[in-house]
């Protein structure tokens, strides 16, 4: 009884301590490479995304064009930012700079920066951006990022998956115990493109000591510009 009381007191003290000083969030800083680059994005259970009939036709048109070597539907060939989550599905690494109020994702691909503002609400009326507008919060050990305000000309994956200006992404990043692996689950909501919200995943490996290189798309011949 007495022991239980001590344990309870200890538990209460721990709980109070954690209330008073929340545990520091995990440190996601570093350079990350995707472990398996993703071509066509699939749902968590391995199915094709739940496209509306209209969106299905767009995917088919993109794939038919690509089969003929015509990638004009893809702004990346003209050095435009690839959009999200595609930017996270390419072979190019990115680095995370973690600060208390902002988390910066800086991509090697054409040196694209993305800012995630922590503990703010998504603005309701923003000009569309290629990389949208992102806010984040720590949910236990996970970083949860909410994004909207996307330009509808970008693609969701490396295989021509389209979206509309109604796109809303929720990314959840979890760091492994050893700090070397990062797991992403991304939930895609876009009622103009999909019949229901769906989720996909990707994994990243940290490469300590790697320095991102200066990739300049406009100085790179079109045939050598990364598309996936």
């Amino acid at each position: 009884m007495r022991r239980a009381g001590v344990l309870l007191a200890a538990a209460a003290t721990l709980a109070l301590a954690s209330l008073a000083a929340p545990a520091a969030p995990p440190d996601l800083s570093g350079v990350w490479f995707i472990t398996h680059s993703v071509g066509a994005l699939m749902t968590l259970d391995g199915h094709a995304p739940p496209l509306t009939p209209e969106a299905k036709a767009v995917v088919a048109a993109h794939r038919a064009a690509a089969a003929k070597g015509d990638f004009s539907f893809d702004g990346v060939t003209r050095c435009l930012p690839p959009g999200l989550p595609r930017l996270l599905l390419m072979r190019e690494p990115f680095e995370i700079l973690q600060k208390p109020k902002v988390i910066y994702f800086v991509h090697q691909l054409n040196r694209l920066p993305r800012r995630v503002y922590l503990d703010e609400a998504l603005p309701t009326d923003v000009d569309p951006h290629y990389l949208g507008y992102s806010v984040g919060r720590w949910d236990g050990d996970s970083l949860v990022v909410d994004s909207s305000g996307f330009d509808d000309s970008t693609l969701l994956d490396n295989a021509g998956l389209p979206h509309s200006d109604a796109l809303h992404l929720t990314e959840r990043y979890q760091l492994s115990q050893d700090g070397r692996h990062l797991h992403l689950t991304v939930t895609i909501e876009d009622p103009k493109t999909f019949t229901q919200p769906w989720s996909a995943q990707a994994d990243y490996l940290k490469r300590p000591g790697y320095e991102l290189t200066e990739e300049v798309c406009a100085a790179t011949p079109e045939a050598r510009r990364p598309r996936s």
Partner: protein, 268 residues
């Protein structure tokens, strides 16, 4: 869109300044009075943060935040309106470029091709610069053309340095001054907007120091180039602390209306 607004404001400001001041004859290279060598007048640049903004952080070793240049110049010599101490061959090239600009057919430069701006030009920006400080690095995220500079505090330059648009930068603190040393620059960029040349042997040293209780960042820039310059030279700039500004997405590659054709920048 925001960038279009910023650019329009900058241009409107320029026109307004000329109108208000009774349109004095533009300054020319060498003060020659030759209108074909007219220099583009500088811009006033950013003001201090508006009233009510959070005060600057007085910690001299914490450079985090958004900084915006005051007093933008198109020609980056030791004084406003004075050319860098170029060797005669490169002074003649600068004159050629200024004349081409004044004819309305400017020679293609890095910025009109959506390349990074090079050094020291990238630091002379009418757009905000966000500094992100992490234990081994200081990172400059420029709004303009998503230029990024990484200043390594934990290593020296590599023995065999690759030549890139923004070079290899290492830094260290000397008291309250951050000293940044940059080499490894390719020669596809100019020193400044007007077209002063540098070579791959260019060496740039920047000294940053907070002043005014952290509301201003002072930069002393020193440029050295044994190929194009007679001797090293320096100039001073200040950046305003702007916690009210969030850098915006800047996509040079979208409908680049200044994309050069046959080596000439086209203004559409």
């Amino acid at each position: 869109m925001r960038n279009l607004i910023r650019t329009s404001l900058a241009i409107a400001g320029l026109v307004l300044t000329a109108a208000v001041s009774g349109a004095p004859a533009p300054k020319t290279l060498h003060d020659s009075g030759d209108p074909t060598l007219a220099l583009t007048p500088g811009l006033r640049g950013a003001d201090k943060a508006p009233p009510g903004s959070p005060p600057g952080n007085p910690d001299p070793h914490d450079l985090n935040g958004v900084w915006w240049m005051s007093g933008y110049q198109y020609l980056l010599g030791p004084e406003p309106g004075v050319a860098p101490p170029l060797k005669p061959k490169y002074m003649a090239i600068l004159e050629r470029r200024i004349r081409a600009k004044n004819r309305g057919t400017p020679e293609a430069d890095a910025s009109t091709q959506c390349f990074p701006h090079g050094m020291p030009r990238v630091m002379e920006s009418p757009y905000p610069i966000e500094i992100v400080q992490t234990p081994e690095r200081i990172t400059f995220l420029h709004e303009v053309a998503h230029n990024i500079r990484r200043i390594w505090l934990n290593r020296d330059h590599p023995r065999k340095v690759a030549h890139t648009f923004l070079g290899d930068s290492v830094g260290h603190w000397e008291g309250d001054t951050l000293v940044v040393d940059t080499i490894g620059l390719n020669d596809r960029t100019f020193i400044d907007d007007e077209g002063s040349s540098h070579s791959t042997q260019e060496h740039v040293v920047e000294r940053y120091r907070k002043i005014d209780d952290g509301s201003t960042l002072e930069l002393i820039m020193t440029v050295e180039d044994p190929v194009t310059l007679e001797h090293p030279y320096s100039y001073r700039r200040v950046f305003r602390w702007r916690p009210d500004v969030r850098p915006q997405e800047y996509v040079c590659e979208e409908n680049n209306r200044n994309a050069p054709v046959n080596g000439v920048t086209v203004a559409k």
